[in-house]
């Protein structure tokens, strides 16, 4: 078995990388761009998911009372009647005063908004929120009962989120598939670029490769520097893309959180919670891309 020292092999790889200056630079540029585009898209989707999941639970039915002046006894009786229905897991009564209070707390720092929620002008109705379990059919049954004016004349309207839940599920899937398709295209582009870079490196060193073959170098010994050269490219690209990603994310968060009308609706996952996933994916995708690209190129252009 032939033995090679690692510093020697790494040294050879690094020389190759720096010798191939322009093409290495070009492939770093393209790889970085691809990673960054995927990173932005990926983070966008991740935030979308988090926001969608933060929307109030979807297996809920919201019943809005017809009148604001039910007595406490009436409410107690209504609560018990709802609780006794089949598939009802939990019933939560939110008095209109409480809803108002919550709103005022939420916008305590925004006087213009607060104006709309004055103490003596409560726009909210009394609300029962029902959390249910069971199949979609059972949920439909429950809805049917609640919407029956003979059984529950107290309710002005009964809102479910079955449709919304389905739509959101579809939306999430669609977006995810678009992302995956996108990612594949970008990976493909990167692989082609790496293949081309490696092919040029092989051509510019064809004499060297020829001599090595004659001397009796194994395919591995010949290929190693080419593969590791692209690993330098990949690693540098991943690090640059990561740095740029931090800046872009920060900037976007700043812009969005400075606008109240949006910031109330959207919550952003802080970068500190996802940085290692981003970094690992960048490095992983970059190295994998480089490995595949250089392997294909070596297979095509270097004979044993």
């Amino acid at each position: 078995m032939r033995k090679y020292s690692l510093p020697y092999l790494l040294g050879r790889s690094f020389k190759g990388f720096s010798r191939n200056g322009f093409m290495s630079f070009a492939s770093v540029l393209i790889l970085t761009s691809c990673l960054l585009i995927s990173g932005c898209f990926g983070l966008l989707i991740y935030n979308l998911y988090v926001n969608l999941n933060e929307l109030d639970e979807l297996n809920e039915i919201v019943c809005i009372c017809r009148y604001d002046d039910f007595t406490e006894a009436e409410h107690k009786a209504l609560y018990d009647r709802i609780s006794s229905l089949e598939n009802v897991e939990e019933v939560q009564f939110t008095p209109r005063a409480e809803a108002l209070e919550k709103m005022r707390e939420k916008y305590a720092e925004h006087p213009q908004v607060l104006e709309r929620f004055a103490e003596d002008n409560n726009p909210f109705p009394d609300v029962y929120t029902i959390r249910y379990s069971g199949s979609e059919a059972q949920a439909t049954d429950l809805l049917f009962t609640l919407r029956n004016d003979k059984k529950f004349p107290e309710f002005k309207s009964v809102e479910d989120r079955i449709e919304t839940a389905n739509t959101l599920e579809k939306l999430k899937n669609t977006v995810l598939w678009i992302f995956i398709g996108f990612l594949l295209v970008l990976v493909f582009i990167s692989v082609v670029i790496i293949m081309n870079t490696v092919r040029m490196a092989i051509n510019s060193r064809s004499d060297e490769v020829e001599v090595m073959r004659y001397i009796g170098a194994t395919g591995w010994f010949i290929s190693f520097p080419f593969i590791f050269e692209t690993f330098f490219t990949g690693l540098i690209s991943a690090l640059i893309a990561f740095g740029a990603q931090i800046l872009i994310y920060d900037k976007t968060m700043q812009v969005i959180s400075s606008d109240i009308s949006v910031s109330g609706l959207i919550s952003f996952v802080p970068f500190s919670q996802v940085w290692y996933v981003v970094l690992l994916s960048f490095v992983g995708v970059a190295l994998l891309t480089c490995y595949i690209g250089s392997k294909i190129s070596l297979y095509k252009h270097i004979k044993v």
Partner: protein
């Protein structure tokens, strides 16, 4: 022993768009320890002979055996090991321009994974034997034609090959230097210490014939003349 039986080699030339017959129906036996000249005009197929023997190319048809290895059957993973028994000097030297002479020669040992200790001991010895030790720290573009040839020869010899092949070692040299290089090569073949096969490829038949060694003349991809094994 190198043994060609009805070997034909055709290249699929991309530029010419049709197959090019480089060698046709070659029959040849070279015994261990022989010194042989391959002569003939440019394009006759001499370099192709070298590429076949070292398994850089495979014969299109016929059988070729080198030291018992059937080169049409050899498994790809065994090829590097097979090639390490050769020392090859190229027509244009093919020294690495970014390495100095020492590193160029050491590289041939590094390729085979030799430990540094042995490299440090053997490279200076081979450089001295080729009389180029004073140029060890110089780069190829600082060397004269003859020095380049000797550096390239040092690289070919450093792994102590059983078969030494020199492709046009006199290319670009004046007659005096050409003779020196050929003398050196022939002496490497006559060394009694190792029974080394030496194949010298040259289009300068007149120079070659002075040594009284076996001479095989190629023409249009065929053997036109073989003086047979020299009487020692």
């Amino acid at each position: 022993m190198i043994e060609f039986k009805n070997v034909t080699k055709t290249y699929n030339s991309v530029s010419r768009g049709r197959p090019v017959a480089a060698l046709t129906d070659i029959n040849l036996k070279i015994e261990d320890g022989e010194t042989v000249f391959f002569v003939g005009p440019s394009g006759a197929g001499k370099t192709t002979m070298m590429r076949l023997i070292t398994r850089m190319e495979t014969p299109t048809s016929g059988s070729l055996k080198v030291n018992g290895t059937d080169l049409r059957r050899i498994r790809p993973r065994r090829i590097p090991e097979f090639r390490s028994q050769f020392g090859v000097e190229f027509q244009d030297c093919k020294l690495f321009p970014k390495y100095n002479v020492y590193e160029n020669v050491a590289f041939a040992m590094r390729v085979l994974g030799m430990p540094n200790r042995i490299i440090k001991e053997r490279v200076p010895r081979v450089l001295a034997a080729m009389n180029i030790q004073h140029r060890a720290k110089h780069f190829p573009d600082q060397l004269s034609g003859g020095e380049k040839q000797r550096a390239a020869l040092a690289r070919a010899l450093v792994n102590n090959p059983k078969i030494l092949i020199a492709d046009e070692p006199t290319a670009g040299l004046d007659p005096k230097m050409s003779k020196d290089v050929l003398d050196l090569l022939v002496s490497l073949g006559s060394s009694t210490k190792h029974k080394r096969t030496v194949i010298i490829i040259t289009h300068e038949q007149a120079l070659a014939s002075a040594y009284g060694k076996r001479m095989i003349r190629f023409e249009n991809g065929r053997i036109a003349e073989d003086t047979g094994r020299a009487q020692e």
